[in-house]
Amino acid sequence: MLVFILGLYMTIVKGNLIKKVIGLNLAQTGVYTFFILTAKVNESTAPVYIGDEVRYANPLPQVLILTAIVVGISLTAFALGLVIRIYQAYGTIEESELSRLVQANREAQPSTLTPSSSGGEG
């Protein structure tokens, strides 16, 4: 759980966009661990069928987490992709710099399309 908090902390506080992604990952693993813990059954074995008499760990949360991990990595991947694009467009991935740039851009020309990212010929 502490990990979850740490991850959240990173996501909110860190200025670097990649760091935020890392934080997000961290937070997610916190949640995953929580699920795994709920699946824990004392003195049990992994849920691989070896007979009816054995006590198994709860398989359901594990299934959920399998799914969640994959979902999480997809999000991470996309976030990183975005970071790369942001870097291409702005030349920085620091939040403070970015907000400064955006601000400056808005003041200079309220509604200008930036040529760099307009969907022209690829």
């Binding site: 740490l6 990649i18 961290l26 849920p47 398989p59 399998l66």
Partner: protein, 176 residues
């Protein structure tokens, strides 16, 4: 038991290291290590399949992705941004985090005890899977059975999420 504790300790140390690391490269490498340790912990918690996935994806996919992203953008970090800004901006995040942490602790006070086979979580649906999965699906691995059969649609969704991510990457990265 001591294995658990050691792993937990390691995890915490790594997490702290990630959080307070000064640059993104270190952070992402540590995250890879963290994933591996986490996977070990999960194995110990009888979640072998999940651990395998985490090791493969958390350490094996995420870290290279991070590295790729860093190599395509920049490694340098400006340092702790919020440390330099005014005090008042630091307050709200901490408040939120404090509240969330408080809620977590508050909830944990009357949670069902960890690992007790008589927990509702382990009593309602789960035993059905344990008893019937093998017979109904023929898969020895109950996790696989649930994944593919009982909750197959979740898995389809999961695949779709991956596909979405792929599509999304194509969309945003292939334009310029």
């Amino acid at each position: 038991m001591w294995i658990d504790l050691t792993l937990l300790g390691l995890l915490l140390a790594l997490a702290l290291g990630i959080t307070f690391s000064r640059d993104t490269l270190t952070g992402s490498l540590l995250l890879g290590a963290y994933s591996l340790i986490l996977a070990m912990l999960w194995v110990d918690l009888n979640a072998a399949d999940v651990a395998l996935t985490e090791a493969a994806i958390g350490a094996g996919v995420a870290t290279p992705l991070m590295l790729l992203a860093i190599s395509r953008s920049t490694r340098a970090e400006l340092g702790e941004v919020l440390m330099t800004v005014q005090r008042y901006r630091r307050f709200p995040p901490f408040l939120v985090l404090g509240l969330v942490a408080g809620a977590l602790v508050y909830a944990s006070l009357d949670m069902p005890p960890l690992g007790n086979p008589n927990n509702p979580a382990n009593q309602h649906v789960a035993p059905y899977y344990v008893q019937n999965a093998y017979h109904e699906t023929g898969s020895e691995n109950i996790v696989t059975a649930i994944l593919v059969c009982y909750r197959g649609f979740d898995t389809l969704g999961e695949v779709l999420v991956v596909m979405t991510a792929g599509v999304a990457m194509m969309l945003i990265l292939r334009r310029s």
